[in-house]
């Protein structure tokens, strides 16, 4: 089982489901989340690459990184996830069982934003 450290988790979160990116672009995605030096992120990406979690390719002389498992594993995961979601809520603990319509979600988001404003919280 592959286990990720705290910074590795944040770097993976910046590459999962995102277009391939250079080290500098990954640093940009992490701004405000994990402000780290360029070399720290480069080292972390290299470590993730050695673990097989990140793929890299040289484009115009610079390494670009993307989440691995884009091939067979992703296809398999998509199929299993579709089956799990089609299973319905029975016996399954879902964070959100059924999503409301867009208008309701917008209203809820507006309520949360208004409450944040009232309490002086950050959006």
């Amino acid at each position: 089982m592959t286990t990720l450290g705290s910074l590795e988790q944040q770097v993976m979160a910046a590459v999962w489901g995102q277009p391939p990116a250079t080290v500098r672009e990954v640093c940009g995605r992490l701004q405000g989340v994990a402000d780290r030096a360029y070399t720290t992120i480069l080292t972390t990406l290299d470590r993730l690459h050695r673990k097989g979690l990140v793929e890299r390719a040289k484009v115009n002389g610079a390494w670009v990184y993307s989440a691995a498992a884009e091939g067979r594993a992703r296809t398999e995961a998509d199929a299993l996830a579709a089956a799990l979601l089609a299973h319905g809520p029975t016996g399954l603990l879902a964070l959100v069982e059924q999503s409301p319509d867009e208008a309701t979600l917008d209203q809820l988001a507006a309520l949360i934003a208004a409450r944040r404003g009232a309490t002086g919280g950050t959006p």
Binding site: T2, M12, A77, H87
Partner: protein
């Protein structure tokens, strides 16, 4: 045939009693819905466990004396019977009687649903294990390489939270912390096991189904509260909205019954409920011990009570 008749009669009586108790508990649902999530979850578990434990106690209690008698370990009390219905593994009754038969018919009618619930659970386990194997451990979550809106905790023996990499990547750090805390609360409370047990109970005894739904909603609210303690209430509310938006099918979501998320977000925008001690598991353990003591001390009375009920069902005698 006499042993089968007695076993069937006792089992049918227990099943019938479970239905009766489950139905009798229904009027309590209304007032309980107004309680906080802790008491609601506890009461739902207590009602389900209580109904099943009482049913099991009646079946076992009614069969202890004739069982011991049949094995030669106790007195065969057939001789002291004075004509009323006789629940005996050696000599009778000639049939389970209509009360036992009715209970057995109820069981037979519900067995396919119970088997389907078991099959569903096993399928869910397989899917969960398959997805977990494709994922990467990340702070208590198993991040799966898929775009599907996956954020689920599955697994009876080793509960695992599965989340899609795309969904996690789209969450702000505070929202991701809230999701981790929410799912960790489910795992700590062994909610997957409780959900599976309540699912099976509801499949066997449909009057228990509303209690399963009551528990499910309360368990989500309790996990929301745990997440709010790890972050804050607005962050949890925002995370719910964000995950709901990610999981909303483009068209199918419109008009769908989705009061759950809305109600949870509105609750989180309100004040935190008062912290109450969880007494459900303790009460259930107390009931189990009481019933165990009843089995030891009063199984003769239980046996004769069962026979009396059968006598009521067959007033002409056996």
């Amino acid at each position: 045939m006499s042993a089968l008749g007695a076993l069937g009669g006792a089992l049918g009586l227990g099943i019938g009693l479970c239905w009766l108790l489950a139905g009798a508990a229904a009027p309590a649902l209304g007032p309980i819905r107004k309680a906080g999530p802790g008491p609601r979850a506890d009461l739902a578990v207590w009602v389900n466990g209580g109904v099943l434990l009482v049913g099991i106690t009646v079946v076992v209690g009614a069969l202890i004396a004739p069982g011991l008698g049949a094995l030669g370990l106790g007195v065969d009390h057939c001789d002291v019977h004075d004509g009323h219905a006789h629940l005996c593994l050696r000599h009778g009754p000639a049939g389970p009687g209509w009360i036992g038969g009715f209970g057995l018919a109820l069981l037979a009618a519900r067995l396919p649903a119970a088997m389907a619930a078991l099959r569903d659970q096993l399928r869910l386990e397989r899917l969960g294990r398959g997805l977990a194997a494709l994922g990467v451990e990340s702070g208590g979550l198993r991040v799966v390489p898929t775009d599907a809106p996956l954020c689920h905790t599955v697994g009876l023996l080793r509960p695992t939270t599965l989340i899609s990499g795309t969904l996690l990547a789209g969450l702000a750090p505070a929202a991701a912390t809230a999701v981790r805390a929410h799912e960790a609360a489910h795992r700590r409370a062994h909610d997957t096991r409780v959900a599976a047990a309540l699912e099976l109970a509801a499949a066997l005894f449909p009057p228990l189904a509303p209690w399963r739904r009551l528990w499910a909603a309360a368990a989500e609210e309790l996990a929301d509260e745990a997440a709010a303690r790890a972050t804050d209430r607005l962050t949890v509310a925002a995370a719910l909205v964000q995950v709901a938006a990610a999981g909303r099918p483009p068209a199918l979501g419109l008009g769908a019954a989705s009061g759950g998320v809305e109600a949870r977000v509105l609750r989180l925008l309100g004040p935190a409920p008062a912290a109450r001690p969880r007494w459900g598991p303790v009460a259930l353990a107390g009931l189990a011990l009481t019933l165990l003591a009843a089995l030891g001390g009063a199984h003769h009375e239980l046996h004769h009570a069962a026979e009396t009920i059968f006598s009521l069902g067959a007033p002409g005698g056996w």
